[in-house]
Amino acid sequence: MSEPEVKKELTEAEKRQLLRERRKAKMAKGQASDRLNNILSQGSSVKTNVKSVLDEEESVAKATSPSLSNEEDDPEIQDITSIAMQPPISPTPPIGEGTPEDIDAIFNKIFQQQQQQSGDFKEGDGNDPMANLMKMFSEGVPEPGLSRATTEKPFDQDPAIAKYQMELYEYQQYQHKLWKFRFLIIRFICTSVNFFYHFLTIPDNAFRASSHSYVRGLVSSTPVNTFIMWFLTIEAAILASYYFISSKNGLFQTRNENSLILKGLSLGAMVLPQLNAIKPIVARVFQYHDLVGIVLGDLALVVVYFGLLSFTR
């Protein structure tokens, strides 16, 4: 330490010594109680009459051991001169006592301290959740893929990234609808062409519906089952291409992420880990539900065409 600082410290020590001596004088027998009563009754009309502990201690101390009279009266307060000469500042001061730092730098220090303390743990070891958490803070949010943007965001408070993830989610929803739109147009065109071709070409009104049940007994010279053959062939092609494109673009994953059932299973898996085994099965069921929905939708279109044209007989 420099000389003026040493002199300043000694001066402060001297001041404290003086104060201590004056207080001691005031706390002479009987006066501690008077001082205490004075403080307690300040501002009130009721005068207190309490006895200070110091007066009692002095009498007990004097009765038991006269050698204790020279000791300090306020043992709880530590002499500041004894702690003024502290060891030099450590290279890594405790968190919060250094100069104000960026929050990311603070987390980096925590992570480094954690790494120093747990030297046996390697980076990325799954057994150390604290290390993984600090690693996530230090490395930031990982690059979100097409299907992960909506799940990996709970710890990111950056508004720009949150806005980006929201926009990415809306874009994924738009892509899902766009592909649905494209496939719907193809399905409508294929089904309509197939239906009206057979409706117009098959003679004897064999390819008709009617509110009269006798049509069930009519036999046509031209086979009418070519319609269903073409229908099923077109459906198989549409389903295969839909499945391929949806898997490639992650449309199934986007849909599954927004599913309430899967979200409920994820929450339930925190309590019952066995539910994790059911999640892929449920996701697969949703995929097949989409495909079955396509077939049923096209079949519904055929039924509507037959129904609206059933007046012809």
Binding site: A160, Y164, K180, S220, G297
Partner: protein, 209 residues
């Protein structure tokens, strides 16, 4: 048993029209329709003098605007009497406007209620009518051979003979087709969305210790 002898094709077409109306209302939105009807009521109600409240409200608002304008031009200290008189008129007009606004909002509530009832009468009630009185009606039959037996069996659900189509399957089919058609139309006019640009990552600089 509750049944009515209605021509099956009448049921087919009626149900189709009702479901189409229902889907269009769902697409437009009930609140939008109510707002549209309310604006029509204001416009034509004022012209045909169904209610004079709109005219009175418009006149009161205009008068209040003029009075406030006049109040701002004079000083309350120099022409206290005149200012107080104007202020009293303003207060009276404000109270009248509040009362007229409340009356009009009650009219609005009655118009909304009427709209809801019209929608129910035109869509929900007729469907329930057909569900009760035409639930066993064979709407139409397919010619033999068009569909394999398993598809005919599915299309004849719940209680009809194979090859026939009933109200349940017909309503499901019409709803499915109409929702797809409306989706095609609405998506065609919807705006495009562009893939957002990823923001740059912050680089955290480690301070040297």
């Amino acid at each position: 048993m509750l049944t009515l002898d209605i021509d099956p094709y009448t049921v087919v077409v009626s149900v189709f029209v009702i479901l189409l109306t229902q889907q269009i209302i769902k697409q437009i939105g009930k609140s939008t329709i109510q707002e549209f009807l309310w604006l029509g009521y204001i416009h034509y109600g004022t012209k045909l003098n169904f209610s004079s409240q709109f005219t009175q409200l418009a006149q009161a608002k205009e008068q209040l605007h003029q009075l406030n304008k006049e109040k701002r031009t004079i000083s309350a200290q120099d022409e206290y009497a005149k200012w107080t008189k104007l202020n009293r008129k303003c207060d009276k007009l404000t109270a009248d406007i509040a009362s007229l606004t409340e009356d009009i909002s009650q009219s609005r509530a009655s118009i909304d209620k009427l709209t809801g009832r019209l929608i129910m009468l035109s869509t929900t009630l007729p469907l329930w009518f057909f569900r009760i009185f035409s639930r066993k009606t064979h709407l139409f039959y397919f010619s033999s051979g068009i569909f394999p037996w398993y598809i005919e069996r599915v299309l004849s659900l719940p209680f009809l003979p194979a090859g026939a189509v009933g109200l349940t399957i017909w309503m499901y089919a019409v709803n499915s087709v109409l929702s797809n058609v409306l989706f095609l139309i609405s998506f065609a006019f919807a705006g495009k969305k562009v893939k957002p640009a990823k923001p740059e990552k912050k680089i955290v600089e480690e301070k040297s210790l």
